[in-house]
Symmetry: C2
Subunit: 352 residues, 2 copies
DNA sequence: CTGTTAGCGCCTTCAG
DNA sequence: CTGAAGGCGCTAACAG
């Protein structure tokens, strides 16, 4: 898997890049003078400075930021971002927000995809720390808080995004999952639905757990208990969500309403419902109606073929805030000893 | 904008990380022995090795990859990826494919967003090169090939993705834009449409130019010439695409069919058409029908409220191939002097 | 204003 | 098997 360094692409081949020494030699000055010119040219005679600049331009010299940063206290200018899946537009949006804020500080993001694999996340964390990231923004996988302890992170600040882990001292930006799920479910119950289905993540994922909690809470407030047969957990993608929704609709006594606890499940539910509608229309049967409520928006939510309400919020904003929290720590502006927790509000939106 | 290094986040504060020297001292061996242990422990007495490993674990030492790579010939293990917008699911998909392949080689991706700004792209390129990326994958902005010359890239291999630039010697993975647009347009013309609209990118973007070319070509083959008033260029996002579609529909003699040359324009067109349908239904007017053909798929294409066909392909696969081409150069497997160009096929899909 | 010295953290080289 | 010397590319710190 290792690939030789020597080879270079295309025509030309890459010879070892020029260094300050090369420039110094070519310009008949000391490396230090070159370094000074590179850093703005203070304390360099204008004439010398111009000469060095010309040589730099001619040779096409570019300073090695890594070597520079090594000497300067080892700040890499990198922020590590770990997400579970770029294909989910939710995380893509989050990534966009993170990049936006990180880029403003002149830093860059290194992106890793954990694919919901805790082992892989561990490796990536270790790799990122070895590459001297200045900070980390992570959508965590699994429940073990150990890997996020200050010791294992060597003091590198961390912000958990969207999901939290019990027992960490890390900062986190979350959504008001419980309230969102609670209000959505209350709405459906108030509309008279008494068999409400639930499609969500594993309870080992904090968002899955919290949204299920809100769902249950809404029922209990009315003295109800949602039956287990209406609850489907662990669907990570649209296909499995669609299957889960199918299984709900195949029940002898199917739900009249469904709460889909994230956008993958909402999309899958919409697909399952549409499919049945089309089939029913084809054989002139009864077109089934299911009241659908989702969590997380997506591009076509407002044009869904199935009437839909959404517990909405902006993942890009969540990404921005996560990055901002990180820089508050990095800059020393935020010095509180304990973790800082932000819960973003959500709001309900109806799409006829 | 610069942020002090000393400050560290959270409880504890970050003291300067332990180095091989620290471990060596604590284990009563030379730094070299520690280094050997870190590299697998060859030529180290098992007993010493174990002892050093224990110390490493206790102290929580982690080796500084950047320093290591500096000594070892300056291979950073980083691939720079520049895309115009993560919010576009098309590019998010591409990024996913790139990450997947890059991760398999043990490298990481550094991601920059150019936001269709050529100046910003230049800065990011320079920044990435300074950080010693081993290769670059870029969705280019603008038409100037200069910034991609071998000299300005210092021999770092580059693969252009999705879009090309005339006059570069860089490798590229593109789509068969011309054929896709040609076949789509031919279909609509064969269906009898004679006023076909076009929504696309600026012609300064290669995809915009090539897709428009295919559109024109289809007309000319029938001895037709598409009227300028039906062509709208430069929409970068859904909102402006929707406005452009509105303007087409507002024409005295509106198009009966429209070709949307990328997914942002397709989505915008769908929105514009739906909006009018809803309005027409409300006042019991005539529900307008427009034959719509898009380029690039998107999640809800098959559930579009407007009948739709798509010139389809897989952006994730495009990302994978781009990364593979890069590694073919890096590994020296691909040594051809000139650029390598891959055009991926597209296929037409109909969604009732 | 300019150069010299030294060292960031690590590893290649060579000598034991 | 182990260590000492030296240097990757760059720049603080100090001397002139």
């Amino acid at each position: 898997m290792t690939i030789p360094a020597s080879a270079a692409g295309g025509a030309g081949g890459r010879r070892s890049a020029p260094t300050v020494k090369d420039i110094a030699r070519a310009a008949n000055v000391s490396p230090m003078t070159v370094s000074r010119v590179l850093s703005g040219g203070n304390n360099v005679r204008p004439q010398v400075r111009e000469h060095v600049e010309r040589v730099i331009a001619e040779v096409g010299y570019r300073r090695n930021e890594n070597a520079r940063r090594l000497r300067q206290g080892n700040r890499s200018g990198l922020v590590g971002v770990l997400i579970t899946n770029i294909g989910n537009p939710y995380y893509a949006g989050m990534l966009q927000g993170v990049e936006e804020v990180v880029a403003k500080t002149g830093r860059r993001i290194m992106v890793g995809v954990t694919n919901e694999d805790e082992q892989l996340e561990r490796q990536l964390l270790s790799d990122f720390l070895g590459r001297q990231v200045e900070g980390l923004i992570v959508v965590p996988v699994g429940e073990d808080p150990d890997r996020f302890s200050i010791e294992s992170l060597a003091g590198v600040p961390l912000v958990l995004a969207s999901r939290s882990i019990a027992g960490t001292s890390a900062d986190a930006v979350l959504l008001d999952d419980v309230r969102g799920a609670l209000e959505a479910t209350e709405r459906m119950l108030a509309e008279g639905h008494r068999r409400v289905g639930f499609l969500g993540n594993q309870v080992s994922v904090s968002t899955g757990r919290r949204r299920l909690e809100g769902f249950r809470l809404a029922h209990r407030r009315l003295g109800l208990e949602p039956p287990d047969e209406l609850i489907r957990l662990g669907q990570q993608d649209v296909t499995s969500a669609e299957q889960a929704m199918d299984s709900l609709l195949d029940l002898a006594d199917p739900p009249t309403a469904v709460f889909a606890a994230n956008n993958r499940n909402t999309v899958g539910a919409i697909r399952a419902i549409s499919k049945r509608r089309t089939a029913a229309r084809a054989r002139h049967g009864v077109v089934p109606t299911v009241r659908l409520f989702g969590f997380d928006s997506f591009e076509f939510a407002d044009m869904s073929p199935v009437p839909l309400s959404i517990v909405d919020h902006d993942p890009t904003e969540l990404g921005r805030i996560a990055a901002q929290m990180l820089f508050d720590r990095l800059s020393g502006e935020d010095t509180r000893p304990g973790p800082r927790l932000i819960e973003l509000p959500v709001h309900l939106v109806d799409f006829a």
